[in-house]
Structure formats: C-alpha cells, structure tokens
C-alpha cells in the first residue's frame, strides 16, 4: 500500500476542482474531496496540479480544502448481489442509500456496491491442486431464480488452488486460497473489482450471426439486431425512444439486461423499478427484474457521474458476458452523456469541436460501442458470450445532422430512426421504415429461414417493396388524386396501409400485442400478403378495387393477431378462407351484373 497522497484545492468551478500537491497521484485515480469526502476522479495533470471531476455537487467546497487520493482508478465491484439492484452512475446502491439516508441523495455517501452482510451459497467446481487461469470458473452461486452466477478467476490471474470449500459466504469472506505463478498465496472471494474505463479482456471476437429476438415486429422483421451487435435509436422528444427501449429491455431474448438511465427522467427509472418486478419474462416465466440491473443517473443528479454511468453499465455487462451469457446494455440517452463530456471539456477550457462538443467525442463513443460484441470468453472451457449495445440519442430539435447522432451512426450497425410525424399519428413504434436500416439483415437471413419460416426473408422483402412503392405513389396522389391511379396501384396503397396498421404498429401497452413470437409474426405477414396476392388476381379478373378495399374481411385481418399464442393458427386459417370466400363472392357478383 503506497502512502496516502494528499493535496489542497486551489480552484473550484462547478464539478471541476483543481488541487495542488498531487504530483504523486496517478491519472484517473479516484479521490475524496473536502471534509464532505465527495467522490472525484483525476482527469488531467499539470505539474503537481490535478484537475478533478467531482461526481457530487461541489457547493461549499473552497480553496485550501483537502483532497485525498485513494490510489485506485474508478472501479466497480463484481460479484453476487448485482442483479435486480439499482445503482447510481458510480455504482452506489440507491435502495440501500434510500433506506439509510432518506428520499433525497445527500453528498459524500459511502456505501459499498455489494451487500457485505448477505450470505450466498457457493458450490465449488474446482478442487485443491487444480491449475486455473483468468476466466476459469471456481464455482457457482445461484442468484435469484434465473442467473447462475459463475465465480471466475479474475483476468490476468493464474495459479494453483491451495484450498477451496463449498459453503455459505458473504462477498468478502475467503472461499479458498490460490497460489499464484509468482508463489504468492492469495485469498479467493466471491467478489472482484474492475476499473470501468478498461474493457474486460476476451479471447477473440466472433462476427455475430444470431438475432437478438425482441418480439417487436418492426425490429425483428425489418431491422433486426444481432446478439453482440450495436444499434442506436435517435428521435426527437415524444417520438417514443424510451418506450421502445423499455420494450427491448422487457422482451429481448437475452440472459441479462443492464439498463442505463443516463441523464434522463427520474420517473422513468421509477417506472422500470416498479413495473419490472411484476412483469413475467416469456421465456423463463420468472419476474423480469430477476434478469435486470439498473444504473440510474437521472438528469438532476450530478453531471460528472453521468459521464461514468455508461462505463459502469458496460463493465457490469462484460462481467456477465465473461460467464457465457448474452447481455444487452441499453443506454438512455447517449446524448446526455455527450453533454456531460461537453460540460467538463468546457470547464477544462479545451478547444471545442462541433457545437462545443470536444474533439474526442467520436473516439469516446466508438470506444463505448466497441466494447459490445460476440466473443469467445477467457477461461479454458471455450464458452461464448455476447454484449449487445443499444443507445438512444436525443438529437436537438430532432435534427439528426447534429454531432452526437452523426458520430454514433458512423459506428453502429443498426439505425432505428424515430419520426415525430409518425408519433403524431400515434403510429408506434414510430420507427421510420424508409430511412432506418440494419446492416445485420443479410447475416441473419439464414437464421430466420432456418428457425422461423423458409420464406421469411422473401416476405420481408416483399413488404419493404410495398412500403417503398407506397411512398412514391403517395407523391402522385398528392399531385393528381387517387382516381388517377390504376387499380393495381390502388391495391398497393391499400395493402401498404394494412402493412403499416396491421403489422408495423404494435401497441406496447396491450397485453396481447406488447410481444409477438416469431412464428406468429410470420403468419401475420402471410395473412396480409395472402390477401394481397388474392386481391391482385381478383383485380385481373375484373373485380372493382373500391369493393375490395371495403371487404369486411379486412377488419378481421387486422384483428386476427388478437388471438392468443395457442389458438392463433386456427384463427389465421379461418380468416384466410374467409378472404377466398369474400373475393369469390365479389367476383360472382361482378359477373352477374
């Protein structure tokens, strides 16, 4: 243990504090500031002067107040007890803080991230004498009903197990001892620490080829994301970013979700906190909270901790990835994180780039998204894990030409562009089908053909074509009116409306529609396209398009998906027959006239 480094404050400007006498301290060391022991981090050194970003409100701090370096970088505690918890941006447990200090967050609170008292049942998988290296699994702890928490050898560590014992432990009690390659004997505990700004190591990255199934029709069918992929959701306020992200957090088929509320509304985090425990995961049948970790740094909490919250979130995600799980990190919103960067940059008097954002904005964003991926984990059993990163972006004025959106688009592979015009029409999710894209579609096509329906990709392509045609036909209609179109084109318009209203729109607040399984999604596409093809041939035989548009079966098509997952096949088949009957009746009527 090196000696405690102590400095004195010379300057305070908002969350930035400059202290002198800090020559011995390391860059990015965590420091405690003033009598209130506020938490801060060294972000610049000039001679013996350290610039410190403070994660708490600095009111009441003045010249001459002392600063102590802890000698360690900003780190998170990783071990049993993380799941279902809610943390602030620097991993302080908010529920514990609430019970200890009341409903408002005071300053200088020092509460360990993992409950020190709670006892966990540990089952050893290795025995004395075994050779282990970084990533190997000592044993397991069952955390909640879903996650089997694997206690791993920390990266970069290796050696021979001296002793290890199954039993009941808290996170700091030694569960055994390890003799390292250097001959030193160290205690093994359930907990390890990792600095948040450093990516956890892996053996190799593998290009992802499995979709992250979300149960959202627009996403799964038109713009799918891969497990281990990256996506962004830019949109002006009121376009449904947060609802879309909540939907992903609820229904994605991943093992764990880390939800980072970064500079957003307090009530939204409360909503997740109160709603998730009551929702059931369709795959495990257990409460969704049992697979969720929340990081909440709401907009009224100190701005510097907002900068750290994204790293805290992704480090936790990487830790579970290393166990071989598939994890999704959902960050709402990366624009607030970028603003925190901008604010610190301004206080450091750095030369600004575009719109006052620092020049390193793009590289910082890239560093964050590059920590996502499908990887072969460290450890000798060759397991694989994935971190998928999804970031909301809040472009000012909804104008996506601003720097944060543009920097993000250069990195991520999926773009779900939200559109306020759709939101005004209450078309939700308001993902614009004309300008959004997914670069994973090709790569994931074989998976859908194999696992859902052989013709899945053709159906999706046909729907996209219909929507494309609609947008060009709309231009004509606006100029010369709908009467000028051929019956075939008018049918296309009608079907496009059906695709939009009956397929793309999905009500996240309805019990039956919030989540849709893949097979049913495929059947819904079949039904819409079946009507299209049959109506096409009816028109060729001389049926009147106006009458086709008014067929009562169309309402049944749109309501068919209300059928439950066990009975929908029969309902869909019945509606399909009804299409035949009504079209045939229509043709017969035409002939008699």
């Amino acid at each position: 243990m090196s000696k405690m480094i102590e400095g004195k404050i010379v300057k305070v400007s908002g969350p930035l504090v400059i202290a002198e006498g800090m020559r011995e301290a390391n860059m990015f060391d965590v420091v405690r500031v003033g009598d209130g022991k506020l938490i801060g981090e060294i972000i610049e050194m000039h001679g013996d002067r350290a610039s410190i970003q403070v994660y708490e409100d600095t009111a009441g701090i003045g010249r001459g107040d002392r600063v102590y370096s802890t000698g360690a970088p900003l780190s998170v505690e990783l071990g049993p007890g993380i799941i279902s918890n809610i943390y602030d941006g620097i991993q302080r447990p908010l529920e514990t803080i609430f019970s200890l200090y009341g409903p408002n967050i005071k300053r200088g609170i020092d509460v360990p991230a993992l409950d020190r008292e709670k006892v966990w049942r540990f089952d050893a998988l290795v025995k004395a004498g075994d050779q282990v290296s970084g990533g190997d699994i000592y044993g397991t702890v069952q955390e909640g009903d879903i996650i089997l928490h694997k206690i791993m050898v920390p990266p970069k560590m290796s050696g021979t197990i001296v002793s290890i014992q199954s039993g009941d432990y808290n996170v700091t009690q030694p569960i055994g001892q390890l003799k390292t390659a250097g001959g030193e004997v160290v205690d093994i505990t359930l907990m390890q620490k990792w600095p948040v700004r450093m990516a956890r190591p892996y053996k190799e990255k593998i290009p992802p080829n499995t979709p992250m199934v979300t149960g959202q029709r627009t996403i799964d069918a038109l713009f799918p994301i891969a497990k281990g992929g990256t996506a962004c959701i830019p949109g002006p306020f009121g376009s449904g970013k947060t609802v879309t992200q909540h939907q992903l957090a609820k229904w994605s088929d991943v093992d764990l979700v880390v939800y980072v509320g970064c500079g957003e509304r307090g009530n939204e985090m409360t909503d997740v906190l109160r709603e998730f425990p009551e929702l059931t995961d369709p795959r495990t049948g257990k409460s969704l909270m049992q697979r969720t970790v929340l990081i909440a740094n709401t907009s009224d909490m100190p701005v510097a901790a907002r900068e750290a919250s994204i790293y805290t979130g992704i480090t936790i995600a990487e830790y579970f990835r290393d166990m071989g799980y598939s994890v999704a990190v959902i960050a709402d919103s990366t624009s607030r994180w970028a603003e925190a960067l901008r604010e610190m940059s301004g206080r450091l008097e750095e030369m600004p780039g575009e719109e006052g954002y620092p020049a390193y904005l793009t590289s910082r964003l890239a560093q964050f998204y590059e920590r996502a991926g499908w990887v072969k984990c460290i450890g000798s059993d060759g397991r694989e894990g994935a971190v998928s990163a999804i970031g909301a972006v809040s472009p000012q004025g909804g104008d996506i030409s601003e720097p944060v959106t543009q920097a993000t688009l250069r990195i991520v592979k999926v773009f779900w562009g939200l559109d306020s015009a759709l939101a005004y029409r209450r078309h939700f999710p308001a993902i614009n089908w004309l300008n959004s894209y997914s670069l994973y579609r090709e790569r994931l096509a074989p998976w859908f053909a194999e696992n859902v329906a052989a013709d899945w990709n053709e159906k999706v392509a046909e729907m996209m074509t219909i929507l494309q045609e609609e947008s060009s036909l709309d231009e004509i209609v606006k100029l010369v009116g709908v009467d000028a179109l051929s019956p075939a084109d008018r049918l296309t318009l009608e079907i496009a409306r059906s695709v939009r209203e009956d397929f793309l729109q999905q009500d996240s607040f309805s019990e039956y529609d919030s989540y849709m399984e893949q097979k049913k999604m495929s059947a819904t596409m079949d039904l819409i396209l079946s009507f299209y093809h049959k109506a096409q041939s009816a028109i060729e035989k001389g049926a009147d398009i106006e009458k086709i548009a008014e067929l009562p079966v169309r309402e049944r098509i749109s309501r068919a998906k209300e059928a439950g997952s066990d009975s929908y096949q029969a309902v869909y088949a019945e509606v399909d027959n009804e299409i035949d009957r009504q079209l045939a009746a229509l043709l017969a009527e035409e002939e008699t006239v």
């Binding site: 809610i86 307090g266 009530n267």
Partner: protein, 464 residues
C-alpha cells in the same frame, strides 16, 4: 466570524471579481454593501486561488470598486419556509413584498434542493381532472407530473394555466391543495391576470406568489423558480399538501442564464445558450414528483413561449426532453377562434397510460384516446388533400374523416376557458364524434367496448 473585503477588482455585466479572499466556498452567498449603505446580494461562481468570481443578483449601478464592501455569509442562497407562506407575495429573491411581516420560519432551506433518489420516487398515477377535454381525454395530467405549456407570444397560455389551476381536482378526494406561482420576468399585466383570477376564485388564500416582473433585475430570475420550488417542496413533503407549481415564463429564465454564461465567456451551445442548459433545467423540472415518506406531491406546469413558434428552439427542445410531455398551443386554432387552442397531435402526456382506465377514469379511455388521435390525424391529412385537389378527389371514407376533423375541433377542442367538463362528458363527446366514422374504421377500439359505449348500440338498446 464574517470578514469584510474591500478588494473588488472588476465589475463587468452581472459578474464581479473579488481578490485576496480566504475561506470562501463555491456557491456561497455574499452581500455587497454600497457606500450609501444599500445591500445587494451575490453568489460565488468560481473560486480560483485567492480570487473569487461572483454573480450579482441586482444591477451593478452605483457599485464603487474603492468603497464597496463584500461579506460572504457562509451558506448558499436560502429560503425561510413555513406553512404561513400561503396567501403571501414574495419577491424573486424570497423577500415579502406584500407589506406583511416577515414569516417566522419552520426551517430554512437551501434553494438548490437535492436530487430525489429514483428508488424513493413513487410513480405518478393519480388522475387529475382539469375539466379541459383536450387534456383530460387525450393528454391526461397526473399528480406529480411536470407538463409544460409550449406557447407563443400572443397565445392565451395564461388563460389555460389559470383554468387548470381553477378546475384541477382529484376525483373522490378532498385533499389539501395549494398553488405556488412564480412570475419570471413577465409583465405586470400578465402577473395581474393570474393574481386577480386567484382572488376571484378565492384560491389566493392557498397560493404562494413569487414575483419577478419584467422591470425587476434580470439575474434575479435565476433564483425565482428555485425559490418557488423550495416553498413547494416544504408544502408538499413537510406539510403533505398537493401543490401545483406554475412557472411562467421559462424563456426569460433561460435568457438570464445565457446572460451570465456570456459574461463568463463560456463556450456557447446552440443559439448562445450555455452547454449546461439541459442540466440546469433538469435540476428544476425534476423537483416535481411524489416520494415515499410523504403523501404530498408537486405537479408542475412550466409555461414557455417559443421564439417564432419554433419547437426546435433550444428552450422548448430541451424542456421537452426533460418534462413528461407537453401541451402545445396552436396559432392556427387560435386564429380560428378555438379556445383553448391546444394543438392535439404534437401534444403529449407521457404518464397518461398509468393514470387512465378502469378504476381511474373509465375502461374505454385508452382505446378511444388512440382512436381519436389517429382519426384526427387522418382527418387533417384528408383536409390537406382536399385543399389541393378538391373534395371530389377524396374517397367517401376520407370525406367522413375530413368532417370528423372539423367537428372534433369545433366540439372537442373548442370548449372555452370557463367550461368545466367531467371526464365522462369528455368521453361522451369523443364517442359522439367517433360515431361519424364507419364502425369498421374504429380499429383501435375493442369490439366489446364498441358494443358497450358506441352511441349506435346504446340508441338501439333504448329503441328496444
């Protein structure tokens, strides 16, 4: 011991540099004594070695570098609070200006508050009936919500805010209710409109007013809303009252902030507003809510005028990202004489879904709301098409939609500032309007609800 300094070195705009001070803390409140004995207040913005940069709340006129004295008071800006503040009028700095005595404080609070732990928040879900159809029916307000009114110059936002303050109630409950009103740089006439409306309805006895008029010092506007919120927090969380906070006009607040930022030569964000405008607004807006350990709540209605009616201007834009929705007023509807001119389509209440439905309003509320929104949107599109191509070019269904849109504006939106509609009346009008459309178009409503509430079915029941 409080030391006095005569070391003022620079005064520029709202900023002042004091040299050779000791023991001064960031964000500390200071007092400047002018040679004539007048006292002005200031706040520490930056401590740099032995120099401190302070922000003046009043004008710098008459300030004399050689003979003025500065004292630092050892604490930040504070507000003495008490339940007796109800019925009183205070300045933007929290001094009583109604000629009454100083209040005897229950306690003295720092006006910056402290962030609410998200784990301690209670999710707002109690329906507030405002009696305004476009709000209750389509953009429902709930207790603890922050729902701003985006307006423009010349639009009747004050009338709408006063109507809400007058009519708002939680049904079936008779809780203690208070209004905290902060006038931030508005004109005397506009402030007077609110005050006389509160007086007329007797609401003045349960109202706390903080008044910074257009003629008062601009920099004081930075503290005015925080004074109001501190008083509101005391009433809500210590006295367990339900407080409605009206802040008008946030645009003036942001301009004061920009003035200080520009004087400090900070790198500006968009349109010269400081890069931290979002964070600064958030620390204000996020003080609305409900939390565990208290039965009170703070519901906030900030009013802001959008320069050039531009919703993408930084002030409405950043506000929209923080608040839980927005009520937008439309110049077009106002010109048509529709009162209150709420522009329904871009307006939004994010918390409505948990505040409506069976047990809160009525089971058909959510379905009819979505149907009204999408039908009105389609009706407006049809009307646009009609302007270009003439009515004959529309399909029969689109003609009905166009009729629906007109009727919707005439009957649903245009209710006037003095009609107080119950939620049932609002829902009823909604159904009557929806019955203009063919039943097959009502895709967003469950068939069972249509059979129960659709006027056609109910009339049939009566006929039977």
């Amino acid at each position: 011991m409080i030391r006095e300094y005569r070391t003022i070195d620079e005064v520029a705009g709202p900023l002042m540099l004091v040299k050779q001070v000791e023991g001064v803390k960031y964000d500390e409140l200071g007092e400047i004594e002018l040679p004539n004995g007048e006292i002005r207040r200031c706040k520490v913005l930056e401590v740099n070695g032995s120099n401190v940069l302070v922000q003046l709340f009043d004008s710098a006129a008459g300030l004399n570098l050689a003979n003025s004295k500065v004292r630092f008071l050892g604490h930040g800006v504070q507000l003495p609070v008490s339940r007796d503040m109800l019925g009183r009028v205070f300045s933007g700095m929290g001094e009583p200006i109604d000629g009454g005595p100083r209040i005897i404080p229950d306690k003295t609070l720092d006006i910056n508050g402290s962030p609410i732990n998200p784990a301690a928040r209670l999710y707002p879900n109690e329906f507030i009936q405002t009696g305004v159809s476009t709000i209750d029916g389509l953009n429902t307000l709930v207790r603890g919500q922050k729902l701003p009114i985006f307006s423009g110059s010349g639009l009747p936002h004050a009338n709408l805010a006063a109507q809400i303050a007058r009519q708002a109630k939680v049904r079936g409950k008779d809780d203690q209710f208070a209004v905290v009103f902060a006038a931030i740089g508005i004109t005397f006439e506009e402030a007077d409109f609110f005050i006389s409306d509160f007086k007329k309805t007797g609401a003045i006895d349960r109202t706390v007013l903080f008044i910074n008029l257009a003629s008062d010092p601009a920099i004081e506007r930075i503290t005015t809303p925080r004074m109001a919120l501190t008083a509101a927090e005391h009433l809500a969380y210590d006295c367990n009252m339900h407080v409605l906070v009206i802040l008008t006009d946030i645009t003036n607040y942001c301009e004061a902030l920009r003035e200080v930022s520009a004087a400090r030569k900070e790198v500006p964000g968009r349109r010269g507003y400081p890069g931290y405008l979002y964070t600064d607004l958030a620390t204000m807006y996020e003080r609305a809510g409900r939390k565990e350990g208290s039965t009170g709540s703070i519901t906030m209605i900030p009013i802001l005028s959008m320069p050039e009616d531009d919703k993408t201007h930084p002030i409405p834009d950043l506000t929209g990202y923080i608040t839980e929705g927005q009520i937008i007023l439309s110049r077009e509807l106002h010109r048509k004489g529709m009162m209150p001119p709420v522009d329904v389509l871009p307006s939004l209440s994010r918390l409505k879904d948990k505040g409506i439905g069976a047990g809160k309003t009525r089971e058909d509320h959510a379905n009819t709301m979505n149907q009204l929104f999408s039908s009105y949107a389609r009706g407006k599109e049809a009307k646009e098409l009609m302007v270009v191509l003439g009515e004959a070019a529309l399909t029969p269904v689109d003609r009905l939609y166009a009729k629906f849109a007109d009727e919707f504006e005439r009957r649903y939106v245009n209710q006037g500032f003095y009609e107080n509609r119950s939620i049932e009346e609002t829902l009823e009008i909604g159904w009557e309007l929806l019955s203009i459309l063919p039943r097959s178009e009502l895709k967003r409503i469950k068939p069972a609800l249509i059979e129960k509430y659709h006027p056609d079915y109910r009339n049939k029941d009566k006929a039977d």
